[in-house]
Amino acid sequence: MLTNILIAGTVVVCPDCDVRGLKQAVSIAQPYDTILIKEGHYKEDSIIVDKPGLVIMGEGEAVIDANQKWEAILVIADSVTVTGLTIMNVPVSYIHDHAALKFDGVSGCQIINNTFINNFFAIYLAHSEGCLVKDNYIKSNAKREMAAGNGIHAWYCHDLYITGNTVIQHRDGIYFEFVDNSFIEGNYSTKNLRYGLHFMFSDRDVYSHNTFVNNGAGTAVMYSRLISLYNNIFEKNWGGASYGILLKEIYDCKIYNNIFRENTVGLYMENCNRTPIEHNDFIGNGWALRVMANSQDNLVSMNNFIDNMFEVATNSRRSFNKFNKNYWSKYNGYDLDRDGIGDIPYRPVSLTSYLIENYEAISLMIESYFLKLLDLLEKIAPSINPVGLVDREPLMERVKHD
């Protein structure tokens, strides 16, 4: 009988087969076998994959339904591949990080082209290395932050490659903690209750070509160094504490060619240091940049600041960062020598922006004619601006990035 189902190292699972579940399939499979799960609805949970090299492959609509009981699949062997599966209904727990697909202490895993629906955590990587997470669709229906888990969660990992995934309505879309030397590329993260990307204590990572739209608090990159951030779009992250990106305790990163559009705060910098911010577009944000006084030696250059309500806010009258050669749509200086650079320096921290940053309650005066009057007075007499931050070479034309 066994010979019937063991064809060339493949275990077939289907609702009418002898092997009617993944758990059973794993138990009879040999390492490096393929488990082919045919279309069907499999109510299973607590599946432990402990054989290396298994390829678990769904065919058609192969659904593993944890039915709100426990974690679905835990992988503790190296080089396991999971592809083409749909995993759903992993329950919320306040004690245990239940995940649809968890990898613990493995290397070389591949998670490709799966669908995750209504799980607490979806993909969970712990103490793992060299994993590929590609083209997965991850969606939850979480309503409260407390009762929600993350879409892609990585903890104490390195050399991950996260690409082409879509994460919707989890707590954090992509969560990195102690994850080094990894790429996050071309992902789409939206409607997550907290951050589209939550990133801490992770060094030498690259994230590029991602889109973070309409997440509760935008994205946060904290306590990290040597991060490259380019060609990402941060859009419509709008709310009382929402940021295109919140940078906190950041050293020696690069931020370029990103688009920050319609966020409450485009880029928030708290203790962010030695980081060049170049060739980015800041369009229609509440504040394009908020730079706290403990951020130093950053360079802000060749960026476009267009139609932001406030361009730069800072809580210090001195500036410890260099602002040079940016395009500011609110700049109305002239260029007599026609070299493309305005002849009078520009102060992007307006008096009203300074007041609101330092006296929070003044934000209640936003859109009042009194603040409009102050703006007008500042245009007439720029010397009333108390802030030292200045762009000495403001550009007359919008920068065309490569």
């Binding site: 009382g240 504040w287 609101i356 936003i366 009042s368």
Partner: protein
Amino acid sequence: MQLRNLSSGSKQLSLFEHYINDIVRGKWFIAYTVLLFALIYAVLMFSFETSQAVVGVMNLVIFIVPAVGLFFTSMYYYSRREFMEFILSQPVSRTFVYFSFYMAMTLAMIFSFILGVSVPMFIQGFIPEAIKMSLWGVLLNMIFVAISLMVSVLTDDRVRGLGTVLLLWFFFTIFYDAVLTAVIIYFRDYPIEKFIPFVIAINPVDDFRISTLLSTNIAAMLGYSGAVIKHFFGRFFGVLYVTFLQSLWVIVPFLVGLWKFRKKDF
């Protein structure tokens, strides 16, 4: 002598009707309504999304409505002072004349607000926003017509009256916020956030501005104070407080004006 019953219904409405006719046919009134319609329509047309449209309309309304309510009422009052003598020589009570004048002026201003602000909003499909805006339009016009009528009745000199009205406009639109800003800066070391909602709610222009902002995406930019005031406006007590204050702005000037009007020499 044949006399009709003194308390005939047509008499009650006749004077009100007269004032409405006189105001609404005035060239300034027509010009204002058309201009308001054009401005609001333009703002709505050039807005990309609802919040921007609503804030744009709000910006125009807080500038224009108090100004027009104040100036128009005063100018009309002074221009009809001699005719007022004719009216008062008729068998009518002064309270009746005052009330008719106030009601006619307020309703005319509300009428032009509805035509100039609410209608373009309806046409452009901002229906819930238009309803909310109309309610504020009613309240703001009731307030500023009452204040202006009071000032006009109290001040016989036309130039002084219009000067006072100009100062009041400046007070509500700019000076109140300037003083409040100074207070916030001066008392930075005290937990004034708790008191700011109480103080800022006194000014009807600020009430309108903040409640409009809270309904748009700009609410996110009002920070902690915004959250405090949203909480404050959202509670029954807050609504009661604001309603009470705003009714005072209508009732007190109305009654002071009436008191003076009843004992005034013409």
